[in-house]
């Protein structure tokens, strides 16, 4: 929804979708500082129109500050063995140099969380933690759609899904690079 609005807004003076709650397009001056992404642009535009700066939940000026390298724990290096293990566990292919670099950068980004003091704060496991978990009555409401489900599988045998016998282990690193060379990728 936001992307659509932003797209429409950037193509100049078309009225925005009614659900945004805005009927006219404001001047683009407010966002001239350009915090970069679509998201922040649309948010600022909305808030400055709907709430006219007094109730805005978005700060008028950026409040974040960069964290010095010395505050973070030492950078994590991902060893090839760990890469192998993760690939086997998650079946995700990121064995190339770029993949590992990306992973290490992501870990570094998340390291910033270490700076926060969480003494006495319970970890949050779900954003829905203040809601009641809905408990359903014990009634039969679904099922009997075997045909529909079996159609989704390429290969079925007499109403059963077909799978290879047991787990096929992922080939080792050396064999895999050889496989990839031969494949189309």
């Amino acid at each position: 929804m936001f992307c659509k609005c932003a797209a429409r807004a950037s193509s100049a003076l078309r009225p925005l979708h009614p659900r945004c709650g805005i009927l006219t397009l404001p001047a683009l001056n407010n966002t001239a500082s350009g915090s970069g992404t679509f998201w922040s642009r649309t948010c600022k535009r909305e808030s400055s129109n709907v709430n006219s700066a007094s109730n805005s939940k978005v700060p008028q000026a950026p409040t974040w500050e960069p964290i010095a390298e010395n505050q973070l724990p030492s950078p994590t290096r991902v060893s090839p063995d760990l890469v192998d293990k993760l690939e086997r566990l998650a079946l995700v292919d990121f064995g190339s140099k770029e993949g590992v670099d990306c992973l290490e950068k992501a870990i570094r980004f998340a390291d910033q969380l270490h700076v926060i003091n969480t003494d006495g704060v319970e970890p949050m496991d779900s954003v829905l933690e203040d809601r009641e978990l809905y408990l359903r009555d014990d009634l039969v409401t679904e099922g009997e759609c075997a045909e529909e489900l079996l159609q989704l599988a390429k290969h079925t045998v007499e109403e059963y899904f077909v799978a290879p016998p047991g787990n096929i282990p992922l080939p080792k690193r050396e064999e895999r690079s050889a496989m990839l060379k031969d494949s189309e990728f």
Binding site: S126, L135, R136, L139, G143, L150, V157, E159, N167
Partner: protein, 553 residues
């Protein structure tokens, strides 16, 4: 038994001293081990350490059980598909069970209640707040790639399961033990996979995928197969009494995996192996005993026990390493993002505002619904009827037998102790030989009560009654009176007739009479037997004995 053990061990000790480790001796070693294993698995008091040359304490087995009990509910744990044992493949599968994208889990209240009831029956602490997690591993019968379980904070923790088994020559000394239950958690079941080795493929049926399971994790406090079997039997009775699980191992409603290791008491625990594919309580005992013995043999021959998963082969009674050797799995547990924490409340009074009492699980409401547990039933039977403990076990173990018994006792005018004999020996004997359940018994409680009344009133003798019982079994439509009249089995109570019969026997056996007069009264039993045979058992042994004694002397 104790003296012969030391005799054998002394003999083996000498043999070992004089020979080196040849193949021949290994067998003697393991035979020795087998003897010790059999003797120590019975009772701890027989542990005697005079066998080893180095006087090390005996190795003992350590058994911990992981029980998965399928919750008896109409629909599955997180979806509204039906739960049924036999159904066309993939017909009881909803979009969520097939892990189609965009589907979300919705928790079933009945499953939570079942877990809380089981927790209360096993004296657990119910966690007011419990969390759901994802356990990731890949297997074709789990299409999502993860299983929703409760690893961090399960629904119930720290319970006790009290169980008993019988020891001694005649299996009449009861030994009561307890095992701590570490936790009870709710989790999803996986689908079923049928291996087709010919075509090198596996056929997947997702009917069972998503059914609610209660996983009960027990502490490793048991030491042998017998204890584990007794614990599982007691658990089966409790679950069946609560109605939370039908606990039929053959149908897969109760699955038990055993974690077995051996060590010397005082030393740290040894490497454990997990034994799976156990289909009945008897197989459980066999599998555990075999595994303990195997591990002891491995360690005796200076080998190392591997941390692996082994399957039990019921035909050979051995455990075999299972195919998929993946080493230690890393399940990458993560909180289930689609399910907020599960809250269970004490009572309506403690509910926060705006919460509908019909919607949530209340512990005091469930406590009030707890039925009479098997141990309570047994104590009641022993106190009310004065029966032996082993009989109370038989009555409670067999489905419906306790009600049958109480029915007969109420209708019949006999003492409960006599009724017990009839129910346990005659009735159960016949039921077992024909593999019938109590509900299928051709003889109703009233008919049995009638029969017992006849015996009590002296109209038929107890040996005739047994005959009549068998006749009633074969022809349930006839009444007791009919059968007795047809076969003319009325007791001969007429003193004249008795005197005549006894006189006849005495006259036709002059040598025996002489022997009795000489002092050997045991021969009187032979004469009594003759009288019984003549009259087809229709006489009261006490009266006959009195008459014969008078005649002979």
């Amino acid at each position: 038994m104790a003296t012969s053990s030391s005799g054998y061990s002394r003999m083996f000790f000498k043999l070992r001293k004089y020979a080196n480790k040849s193949q021949h001796l290994y067998h003697i070693d393991s035979f020795n081990l087998v003897i010790r294993t059999i003797w120590t698995s019975g009772s701890k008091t027989q542990l005697q350490t005079k066998v080893h040359t180095k006087s090390l304490p005996q190795m003992v087995g350590v058994v911990g059980l992981e029980v998965h009990a399928q919750i008896q509910s109409t629909s599955k744990l997180f979806s509204g598909s039906h739960v049924r044992f036999l159904a066309p493949p993939n017909s009881l599968v909803s979009h969520f069970d097939a892990s189609l994208p965009g589907t979300l889990p919705v928790l079933n209240r009945r499953c939570v209640e079942a877990a809380v009831l089981t927790g209360l029956a096993l004296n657990c602490t119910i966690n007011r707040k419990s969390l759901f997690d994802r356990k990731h591993y890949f297997y074709a019968d789990m299409p999502a790639g993860y299983q929703i379980t409760q690893q961090r904070v399960p629904i119930a923790v720290n319970g006790i399961l009290v169980y008993s088994y019988f020891e001694g020559h005649r299996r009449n000394q009861v030994v009561t033990k307890s095992v701590k239950i570490k936790q009870i958690q709710l989790e999803q079941d996986s689908g079923k996979s049928l291996h087709d080795d010919e075509q090198s493929q596996t056929l997947i049926d997702l009917n069972r995928a998503g059914v609610g399971l209660m996983e009960l994790v027990m502490e490793p406090e048991m030491c042998c197969g017998e204890e584990a079997a007794a614990a599982v039997r007691e658990l089966q009775l409790i679950l069946q009494a609560l109605g939370t699980c039908q606990a039929n191992m053959a149908e897969g409603q109760l699955r038990v995996d055993a974690n077995v290791s051996v060590h010397r008491p005082g030393e740290p625990l040894g490497v454990r192996t997990e034994v799976k594919n156990i289909n009945s309580v008897r197989h459980l005992a066999k599998a555990i005993d075999y595994e303990i013995q195997r591990q002891m043999e491995v360690l005796q021959s200076a080998g190392k026990v591997l941390n692996e998963t082994r399957g039990f082969d019921s035909k050979s009674g051995n455990t075999i390493p299972m195919r998929d050797k993946e080493g230690l799995q890393d399940y990458r547990f993560m909180p289930e993002p689609n399910l907020p924490p599960l809250f269970v409340y004490e009572s309506e009074a403690s509910l926060p505002a705006g919460v509908d009492p019909a919607q949530v699980v209340l512990i005091d409401r469930l406590s009030a619904q707890l039925p009479e547990l098997p141990s309570v039933k047994r104590t009641r039977l022993v106190e009310k009827y004065g029966m032996l403990q082993e009989h109370s076990f038989t009555l409670v173990n067999e489905d419906g037998l306790m009600d049958y018994f109480e029915n007969v006792v109420q209708t019949a005018k006999a003492e409960p102790r006599k009724v017990i004999g009839w129910v346990i020996k005659e009735l159960m004997g016949n039921l077992n030989s024909q593999n019938l359940k109590v509900s299928q018994s051709p003889i109703s409680p009233c008919a049995l009560a009638e029969l017992i009344n006849l015996v009590e009133a002296g109209h038929i003798s107890s040996s005739t009654a047994k005959q009549v019982f068998q006749e009633m079994w074969k022809a349930p439509e006839k009444t007791v009176g009919q059968i007795v009249k047809e076969q003319d089995l009325w007791m001969i109570n007429d003193k004249e007739e008795l005197q005549q019969i006894c006189k006849r026997i005495v006259d036709s056996h002059p040598e025996e009479v002489q022997i009795i007069r000489g002092g050997n009264t045991k021969v009187l039993n032979k004469l009594m037997g003759k009288v019984q045979r003549e009259t087809k058992g229709r006489t009261d042994p006490v009266q006959v004995r009195a008459i014969l004694e008078k005649m002979v002397s």
